[in-house]
Symmetry: C2
Subunit: 332 residues, 2 copies
């Protein structure tokens, strides 16, 4: 960063500076910025991207507004397509995009920060008209990676001071509401099953929501990539039996409900009086395990549809503040 300011001070960096550093024509830089990349080698595109990065070049509106050829394709980079939430959100996105003649194509980050970054690079260097992200990476990484000016929408992740519109659910509030319901019934302790808390802000928001009501929480983190089912189940049983307090088992993700809760029912460990269970459910499948269990249901399809609608507005040049749209989840 220091090197940048030394070299270029506060003087305005022009497109020709980028062209000179990348050793390409101004036309090539312009084509890069406008996404006309099909006749450009990946090496050239990367050189232009590097030059933009080194010079901290911000394209002016004239460069941005040059007529751009639309592919009609919108990239959607999902956190992990094995989650029903991601695929259902994509269906919602597509329903909205297609009503306006666009088509969404799905990329899979596979719960991997580096992979997500690589996919953002590809999207930036290919012919996509816009990108809808469900990101793990921080704002600064996204900004450094997607160099080409293109409409960006953030779905399902809450970002402080986001430069882009974001469509999220009320993770904190709904987790708080569910926990309060059980606290009122006398539950004093929580066993929380979750994927890595450091990976995703929405999981942390849920955790904080629970914590704001019941502070006595045992956190059981399960790796999405590899875990021993029997061992996790044993840990759960040990935790349940490890306290006399009435305990609420809170799964931050439907997958952990469907994989571990049926066996706890069979073992007679869940009686709804001393041990109850709740959690986030996307498909309703968890409901089939025990119809009396109260669950939190999100609406990934609607989150997707709203994200698609905001994207269409951006693509059609309608001004859009980097607003936050909240699609509330329901408990009960």
């Amino acid at each position: 960063m220091e090197k940048k300011s030394q070299k270029h001070g506060n003087s305005v960096v022009k497109m020709r500076d980028v062209a000179a550093l990348a050793d390409v024509s101004i036309a090539t830089v312009s084509r890069y910025l406008n996404g006309n990349l099909d006749r450009m080698s990946t090496e050239t595109a990367n050189r232009v991207a590097d030059a933009i990065d080194k010079l901290n070049y911000v394209p002016n509106s004239a460069a941005r507004q040059m007529v751009k050829k639309s592919s009609g394709l919108v990239a959607v980079i999902a956190g992990n397509i094995d989650d029903f939430f991601s695929t259902e959100m994509f269906k919602g996105i597509n329903a909205m995009l297609e009503s306006k003649g666009y088509v969404g194509v799905l990329f899979d980050s596979n719960s991997d920060l580096d992979r997500e970054k690589r996919l953002m690079q590809i999207v930036s260097n290919q012919i996509f008209d816009g990108a809808i992200l469900q990101p793990y990476n921080a704002v600064s990484v996204i900004q450094d990676t997607i160099k080409r000016p293109m409409p960006i929408v953030i779905a399902d992740r809450e970002i402080e001071q986001s430069p882009w519109p974001q469509i999220v659910t009320n993770n904190y509030e709904i987790a708080r509401q569910a926990t309060q319901y059980y606290k009122d019934k006398g539950f004093k302790r929580v066993i929380m099953i979750t994927s890595s808390l450091t990976m995703a802000a929405n999981r942390r928001d849920r955790y904080y929501g629970i914590q704001s009501v019941i502070n006595n929480i045992d956190v059981l983190e399960v790796s999405e990539k590899s875990y021993n089912h029997k061992k996790v189940l044993q840990q759960l049983v040990t935790l349940i039996n490890g306290s006399q307090e009435d305990t609420l088992i809170f799964a931050l993700k439907e997958r952990w409900l469907t994989e571990f809760i049926p066996r706890l029912f069979y073992k007679g460990l869940i009686d709804d009086k001393h041990v109850a269970v709740t959690g986030f459910s996307d498909t309703g499948t968890a409901q089939y395990i025990d119809p009396k269990t109260k669950l939190i249901s999100q609406d990934p399809y609607l989150i997707g549809a709203d994200s698609g609608e905001v994207m269409v507005n951006l693509l059609e040049g309608k001004k859009q503040e980097p607003e936050k749209i909240i699609v509330p989840a329901k408990f009960g």
Copy 2:
């Protein structure tokens, strides 16, 4: 068809005929055939596609072998991305593609024949290097829709006399094997839960496999798009109670196992002696419902990886017969 032969007889249709009918230059037709579509309006591309169709034009190898710009993107059109099978297959495809510098992007047919056709049109008209399909449509429809010569691989669907390589599982054999296991234990009747049988050949293959061993089958078709959970459950209970014969419940899809079977267990209707359950399971989640239940497990990741490998070979110009690769499922 008659009109075609009247107009053009058996004379060889040339690229210039296509250009003339489409009212574009020969260079434009060539660019279309080689997938250089980014500077071509959708309207022009459609006109060229229509002309190719009307004239029944078959590009000669010279046209095909003109240097083609690669985007590095391979389109994957999945049957329904809400199925874990599809997303896991996509992960397998990607693992193989990415080891060779390609990236897979996922399209969702959403169990809809028309939609799948529209997606194939888009893939044909955009910058994808190849397409991996898990198709509902027939060979002739695929051939009529994907006009641009590009490598095509068929995943998870068995097609008679396929012009493309296909990677499938042994649906018939494994369904037969599982049914035989229960027949040997004295089961004489099957209740089969399935999505629409007319939609997909692999479901029919499973049905025929069961039928080859036990002929007394009640088929319960459930629509993937909308169904009443309570009603289906009631139908199942009625079917179970409707016969004195020892009955095997056979779910052709994991989703029907996880959605309906837990409640049957709770109701005490499954005892493994007079009423047993089996079915196709992709995630292993179904196993958590009852560890004693024997299931058929497919390997969607491996089916994907094999499909990706065949695609890479095609992209690298290695000759590949339209062979059939079988990735066997396991029972037990």
